[in-house]
């Protein structure tokens, strides 16, 4: 598991800095593309054209937004708790950014190849909720508070099914290391966990339904963890104005925005790593495979799930808080536990 940057520069502080900066360099253009994608895909689904006057066909729209947000006045309400209010967006963003530390981009490039990658993602994934609660509470706005309260309940509820999914994959893969999980799935497309994993024989077909269920469970949980429709109740526009970021303006609001899009990539990447073979090529090891192609496959697959999230946003209505809880605790959690048991059992007899 050689790290490409360390190979290139050697293990020193410069290399460490470069490794830190690469995900940041990735997030900024990605967020711009995702915002543009959201606007354009939404427009395309709704018989519109979307932004079209900023640059060629409006491709510079997100750039204009960033330039605009940079100039906006940074308001801190008088009655807000200033330190917490100012800190909150950064904490939310750090939570999303930290997860990039263990997300592999390719065979050769993973910022930090710790062997507890899955656990780490799970841990920093909960970081965002602290920022959201801080922001919601410190704003001293009732709508923000409501949004923050909803967000806590939601993220904590959906961590559990997500955790069960992680456990199931860890059981079958025998590791928490992202790269190993992906390596397990390398080879032809039917080695991916969603198609039953690398093991051969008849038992593979017993695995498939459970993995598909787990895949769907994680897809739903990931939507809830990133506050995307139909689980966008913490910022449910028609109910509680803008939820936890009602009082934020300018760049602080942009941080929330960027964190949301970064989170979208993180959960999409995890789906891809856990179920769809990460950076491995669908055509097996012989064709379009390798470190550079790995980046293509990894980002491409993850972008597909970002697209799915955008797609769902423009299609579905929003759930209510109690329905959300019901779905999390009474449907997804038992389902994921059952799948975990079944997979553990199958793994044992295999």
């Amino acid at each position: 598991m050689g790290n490409f940057v360390f190979d290139l520069i050697g293990k020193n502080i410069v290399a460490a800095l470069v490794i830190c900066i690469i995900p940041l360099v990735f997030i900024l253009p990605y967020a711009l593309i995702a915002i543009l994608g959201e606007l354009k895909i939404g427009a395309w689904m709704q018989d519109r054209v979307g932004p079209m006057r900023t640059g060629w066909k409006g491709v510079l729209q997100p750039v204009a937004e960033v330039v605009k947000l940079l100039q906006k006045e940074d308001i801190t309400p008088t009655i807000a708790n200033k330190p917490l209010f100012n800190l909150a967006p950064f904490i939310v963003f750090i939570g999303a950014f930290a997860a990039f530390a263990v997300l592999p981009f390719s065979e050769k490039f993973i910022p930090s190849g710790i062997n507890l990658g899955l656990f780490f993602v799970f841990a920093v994934g909960s970081f965002a909720v602290i920022g959201i609660v801080m922001g919601g509470w410190a704003s001293n706005n009732k709508y923000s508070l409501l949004g923050a309260m909803r967000s806590v309940a939601q993220i904590i509820s959906y961590e559990l099914p997500a955790g069960m999914v992680f456990l199931s994959i860890a059981t079958i893969a025998g590791t928490l290391d992202m790269q190993t999980i992906i390596l397990n799935q390398s080879g032809p497309i039917w080695n991916w966990y969603i198609f039953g994993g690398p093991q051969g024989g008849a038992i593979k077909f017993l695995f498939i339904p459970f993995f598909v269920i787990l895949f769907i469970v994680y897809l739903i949980s990931s939507l809830a963890e990133t506050n995307r429709t139909p689980f966008d109740i913490p910022e449910g526009e028609s109910e509680i104005v803008a939820g936890y970021h009602t009082e934020y303006s300018g760049m602080k609001f942009a941080m929330f925005f960027m964190a949301e899009y970064a989170n979208m990539y993180v959960v999409s990447a995890i789906i891809v790593i856990l179920f769809l073979g990460g950076w491995s090529s669908p055509f097996g090891t012989s064709f379009m495979d390798g470190p550079i192609w790995g980046i293509f496959w990894m980002v491409g697959k993850a972008f597909f799930f970002v697209f799915v999230q955008i797609w769902l946003r423009w299609t579905l209505p929003r759930l209510r808080v109690d329905q959300l809880m019901y779905l999390g605790w009474k449907v997804l959690l038992p389902l994921s536990i059952a799948c975990f048991m079944a997979i553990a059992f199958l793994a044992m007899i295999n």
Partner: protein, 178 residues
């Protein structure tokens, strides 16, 4: 004159660097107008129609924001009453600078059909908050409204940021000297 002169003192407000930076900043503000999704009266329905597929306000980079903190301009779309005027002032004050106001329809411009006997109607929103663009009509057609947006963008594009700064600094100097 022109280009070479602007190179002489690039950090002057009219110089090549600050001039271009100003253009960029103005471009950003003009092209990304987030508006406060807020409707008052009849005009709000036309305004909803402008948002919808047929006219598609998002073509101009106008995206609705529910919270005034994140909005760049507010559209006064309809009759403003005395009861509502105070709320509109609050909303306007909550918005972050730079902020703009677009007055849509006759009622917001001047009281419109409620001009004469409307004991409870504010005769023009410019009595309480400054207005950047007036769009006439009762209600204005969507095309007229889009024209108003284009006008607003033109206005933002011509705004002076650094020149204004320099001018303000000069005025301050005069005041200090006095």
């Amino acid at each position: 004159m022109g280009f070479l002169n602007r190179l002489d003192d690039p950090f002057n407000a009219e110089g090549i660097i600050l001039g271009k930076v100003e253009d960029l900043l103005n471009w950003g503000r003009a092209r990304s107008d987030w508006y406060l999704s807020f409707g008052l009266a009849c005009c709000a329905i036309e305004f909803m129609a402008v948002n919808a597929s047929h006219f598609d306000l998002m073509r101009f980079g106008c995206i609705p924001r529910p919270s005034p903190r994140q909005a760049d301009f507010i559209i006064i779309s309809g009759t403003v009453t005395m009861k509502m005027a105070e709320r509109i002032i609050t909303l306007y004050e909550q918005m972050a600078e730079p902020k703009y106001v677009l007055s849509m329809g006759s009622c917001a411009n001047s009281g419109g059909p409620y001009w004469e006997h409307g004991y409870h109607v504010l005769k023009g929103i410019d009595r309480v908050i400054p207005v950047d663009v007036y769009v006439p009509g009762c209600p204005p057609k969507p095309e007229a409204f889009l024209d108003g947006i284009v006008k607003l963008q033109k206005k933002i594009n011509q705004q002076a940021i650094f020149k204004k700064r320099a001018k303000l600094a000069e005025e301050e100097k005069i005041i200090v000297n006095d």
